[in-house]
Symmetry: C2
Subunit: 149 residues, 2 copies
């Protein structure tokens, strides 16, 4: 397991890619974000996007998936929150999203000696290396039982 003590500010990762289909965009849109530019290919043509695009919440959720897959061995206890979530460019059917992360900050929890608080910068990029989505996520990570850091 990778604990709080094993994480260093400045650590970087780049994930594999995740290709999104039209069906996945409309399925998520119908369930969680039923605006025409996420659910209706024809209506989307007259939107500011000029066509179907993924919900911004879906692009963030895909980043979460890519992050979890790249950090399966990390002892994450819970997510606390996210700051500065920005949707820079739309994600369109057939686009491939990959995630670039960097550890921005870590500090021990003041209320619980068994955990630390880690802030990670996330950037979701498409196949052309254009920035699609970015945010900073803060999570609780378990400390080593024998830690004296």
């Amino acid at each position: 397991m990778r604990f709080y003590e094993d994480i260093s500010v400045g650590d970087r990762q780049t994930s594999d890619g995740y290709r999104i289909s039209k069906e996945e965009i409309t399925e998520f849109g119908e369930k969680y974000d039923p605006q025409p530019f996420h659910t209706d290919e024809e209506a989307a043509k007259s939107s500011v996007f000029g066509g179907l695009v993924a919900s911004g919440w879906q692009t963030a959720a895909i980043c979460m998936r890519l992050h979890v897959q790249s950090n399966e061995d990390t002892a994450t206890q819970a997510g606390l929150g996210v700051d500065e979530l920005r949707w820079h460019r739309p994600l369109r059917p057939g686009d491939e999203l990959r995630l670039r992360t960097e550890i921005l900050d870590k500090r021990p929890s003041e209320s619980n000696p068994n955990r630390g608080i880690v802030t990670t910068g996330h950037e979701g990029l498409n196949q052309d290396d254009d920035l699609v989505v970015s945010y900073e996520a803060t999570a609780l990570v378990q400390r080593r039982a024998d830690s004296s850091e």
Copy 2:
């Protein structure tokens, strides 16, 4: 249609409730947030949550759905971003989430006279009125063609 000019700072709404099932939690978890406390009822018992809980991204996505349903007539063009997204309490199987919103800020776009920028505070509450999730979302809203505001 409800345009930028029809929105006032201080406007408030409360949505209907949305009840979440165990199956919906694990389905979203397996697809977008495959951590044991979102996907595996047994493993979740030994997590800090003591049982299965919805992904924080799913609680935010449900808030989005409730917001869209309450504002189908608003001429929203695109979401720009979200600040201060916080997960205060877990959402568990059978819980019902409802959304309370308040318009916090509005200003004309400097780059495009056909749109304005609106910031809305969101609070997702469970059936006991406990705060589950909160954030501030900023979106582009179309202006009336004949507006001189």
